[in-house]
Amino acid sequence: MSDPTPPTTGDEPAVERTLADPADEVTEINPDVDIAPEDIGVPVVSEGERLLEVDEVTLRFGGVVALNEVSFHINKGEILGLIGPNGAGKTTCFNVMTGVYQPTSGGVRYLGKPLGKRKKFQITKLGIARTFQNIRLFANMTALENVLVGVDAHHSTGVVSAMFRLPKHRREEAQGYARAIELLTFMGLDGKADELARNLPYGDQRRLEIARALATSPQLLCLDEPAAGFNPAEKAKLMELIRTIRDQGYTVLLIEHDMKLVMGVTDRIVVLEFGRKIAEGSPAEIRDNPAVIAAYLGVDEEDAS
């Protein structure tokens, strides 16, 4: 699996590869590939314990209150849904958790310790990774390189190691390639490792974003509307994918509009409206919660089907 073949062999003759015709391929994931998070030096909490706590977070932009004393927590090993009508503050909440915004008051505790004023890349190194609502891949890099950037989060090769091809560089490159290929294979993208990200079909771009986030070996994977623009068949596959990711040892936080998907895949759901938490509970409880129905379900049912 993690064959340590150095990636920079070069003297082998070019191998003839038959790439599947993009027109007739259907991207299937390979759920059996082991993509479990690697040890990134953060304490691993056991199943069911609190991984991350959002504690009375308030965020103001000028006079606008984007988040108003929002509190919830995520348990290790669960799939938590974060839902709410447009403008409810879901993505803003993500941004607070990943260090894009500093909360006006309150805070986020991760593994029992406050995140504080850590920079974005430091938070990623601690094990929180995310995808983006509007895809933000490195468009002019290949799929493989996109994933490698994610793996690199825990690498430390610098100019000197690279320049003299020191053992650290070789080790990290070999390990990085192996993991990147595993992730791409898992996502069913192994045939497209060498395609530029911007040339991939839409669905593959979404999957590549998830692969890139997984590459950082996160304790917590945050998916921001991963099903946007998917047809029902693709959505069903995505549910499968999210479950498989969880089964491989990840905790997932999911922002999603599609109620069927959220109800089908999550263990618990937190509902936001106008920056406040209005409900929290199991999918069944949320389905029957009158406040949620009033705020959200009634509005969205037509386009959720």
Binding site: D3, T5, T124, A129, E145, V149, I181
Partner: protein, 382 residues
């Protein structure tokens, strides 16, 4: 690179292009081709090839100038092409490198050239860090103006500082210590056909005042080293981090790339190579003054990178040759070169924003593919 392959015309689909075909050659043939090409470059100033050779000015000197532009373009490419930072004050680092040589070998000390060149590189790099640390946090378009200002500050400081020789500059910069290993004869074409002329020779690495060919050889060697450095660093975590930062800074940061650190690194490495080029320039010229470091030079450097294709090291080399060589070859149009490069920048921005030779990402992609195949094969054998 020369395109003299007489390979049989293969069916179009299976042979994607020159680069791919060269890549598919056996390694030994590739190395041999490179050696032949390097040897050709080494002899170029003495071949006196008609038409290419400049009439009015010494061809060795012209080739040296071209070589310094190539070096500068390689350095600026790290900043502009890889990391996506628009640096309009690159001439500042070039000047710092040149003046470090001037100050330490002539004006205030008489240290050995061999010792001073590394110092020049370090001084330029440190000034890059000092300029970059505060400014790389600001928005990209501001950076252009700040660096532009920096280039002018350096020049004005040189003009106004008596310690640095003021407007007169620094003269009597000593020649680097040379070796006199062997003579290389030149080719004479006056009879219409090439004849080896044993009377007109260049001595391998004797740095004199009349024959500029050894300086060209020196620059050529340094370009080789910088190219190897460039290739090794680019194909590592560092190169990927630069590209990710250029593509989407926020996303890169959220994927664990300390973008500021890598931008600063690119800036410092670019500055170091700029300083090295300036040091070479000062060595060959023997005399430097603030006039040698006009803002215009920054724009020509940038033109070299953009015209060639920012992000592609071979592209920027071509760009540097275009920018440095053509005005020398066609001296009668020298007055118009700024006009022409200004027009070229505008036209390129509109019609070919990726430059003459855009980054060959497909080539890289192919290699990644092969590597993956190797990995998979390895797995299959387990």
């Amino acid at each position: 690179m020369s395109t003299t392959t007489s390979a049989p015309a293969a069916p179009k689909k299976s042979s994607p292009g020159f680069r791919e075909r060269v890549d598919n050659l056996p390694k030994a043939v590739k190395i041999a081709l490179w050696v032949v090409f390097a040897f050709f470059l080494f002899l170029l100033p003495l071949l006196n090839i008609p038409f290419i050779t400049t009439e009015g000015s010494d061809f060795g000197g012209v080739l040296f100038t071209v070589a310094t532009y190539v070096l500068v373009a390689l350095g600026l490419n790290i900043v502009v092409g890889y990391a996506g930072l628009l640096d309009l004050g690159y001439v500042g680092f070039y000047a710092i490198g040149a003046y470090t040589i001037g100050v330490l070998t002539s004006e205030h000390a008489h240290m050995s050239w061999v010792v001073v060149v590394p110092i020049a590189i370090v001084v330029a790099m440190i000034s890059g860090i000092i300029l970059g640390a505060p400014t790389l946090r600001v928005r990209g378009d501001y950076l252009a103006i700040v660096t532009l200002g920096f280039g002018e500050i350096v020049r004005l400081t040189l003009v106004n500082s008596e310690w640095l020789g003021g407007a007169q500059g620094i003269s009597d910069i000593p020649k680097p210590p040379g070796l006199e290993l062997f003579e290389v004869p030149s080719i004479d074409w006056s009879s219409g056909a090439p004849v080896v002329d044993l009377g007109t020779t260049s001595t391998f690495l004797k740095f004199g005042i009349n024959d500029f060919v050894p300086y060209y050889w020196l620059a050529l060697g340094i370009i080789g080293l910088v190219l190897v450095f460039d290739i090794l660093v680019k194909s590592s975590r560092v190169g990927r981090a630069w590209e990710a930062t250029r593509e989407d800074e926020d996303a890169a940061e959220l994927m664990g790339v300390p973008t500021f650190r890598f931008k600063l690194l690119a800036f410092a490495l670019g500055a170091a190579i700029g300083g090295l080029s300036g040091a070479l320039f000062a060595t060959k010229a023997g005399f430097i003054s603030p006039d040698s470091f006009q803002l215009l030079l920054s724009i020509l450097f940038l033109a070299a990178v953009v015209v060639g294709g920012a992000g592609n090291r071979w592209g920027v080399i071509v760009g540097a040759i275009v920018v440095a060589y053509f005005p020398e070859r066609f001296r009668e149009f020298a007055d118009f070169r700024v006009l022409v490069f200004g027009l070229a920048l505008m036209l390129l921005a509109i019609f070919r924003p990726q430059g003459l030779l855009p980054p060959r990402r497909t080539v890289r992609a192919k290699r990644a593919d092969d590597r993956q195949a190797v990995l998979e094969e390895g797995e299959a054998h387990v």
